[in-house]
Amino acid sequence: MRFFIGAKMTKLNREQFKAVLAERCGSDICEKLDSAVVGIAGLGGLGSNVAMALARAGIGKLVIADFDTVEPSNLNRQNYSVSQLGCDKVAATTENLKQINPYVNIDRFSGKLTAENIPDVFSSCSIIAECFDKVDQKKMLIETALCEMDKTIVVAASGLAGYGKSNDIKTRKINSRLIMTGDGKSGIENNLPLFAARVIIAAGHQANAIIELIIETT
């Protein structure tokens, strides 16, 4: 694909863009990823980084949801820039994703996710990444998706605060519909600070588990 060298990405059409991905991963894998629809519940440190990894991988459609705006305190770990302070996180994430993969389809939900609206918001998704900050929200998403939705798989995260101990962060399959990432114990309740370095490890585990699910099970 030498003819792409030096070409501006904005000049690549959808087919050319897909061809670049296919050259890296193979067309079979790219087709699976392109056909996938993945939900991202929460666009903080986990969600903003999971979204970027999935867009780079060539996931066809992302359903992104958050109620919040970008604040200065987010910049230590969340994938936003100073110019996006005050912006709706859904809009800011959309802007960032389109810079990386202009052809990723994005369904946007700017609002509070609840047990009542989650099945509807993520109805098109085969997989949901649980990327909330608070324990009660994490629990609500996992229980709602697994009890109220038929086949949706949840890839959740618990235990990613602090620093060091990179290898304590694991991916664990609980059952056919629930995968947990994180170390299971390092929480903000313990007054541990959050750093991008460790949050991104957990987000990487989530995105990696999602890519594996799509490639291995579809």
């Binding site: 440190g45 608070k134 629990k139 995260a157 059952n175 629930l178 390092s186």
Partner: protein
């Protein structure tokens, strides 16, 4: 003596807890911070008090901590 397999380990009980809520109290686990799976079924928080515990069940208690 009754046995439950909790998070992969056999645990002995002189008296089996009646419901999931009782098991969590006995294990000093806050129900608000755990996702519970019994024999492959995820139990919703609202059903913790009525979910009966039976001998031999395989129970996963997934502790959730904050941060994201």
């Amino acid at each position: 003596m009754a046995i439950l397999k909790i998070n992969g380990t056999d645990k002995n009980f002189d008296i089996l807890p009646a419901a999931l809520t009782d098991l969590l109290v006995q294990m000093k686990i806050d129900a608000a911070t755990v996702v519970a799976e019994i024999d492959g079924r995820i139990i919703k928080r609202s059903d913790f008090a009525t979910e009966k515990i039976c001998e031999g069940q395989k129970i996963e208690l997934i502790r959730l901590v904050g941060g994201g």
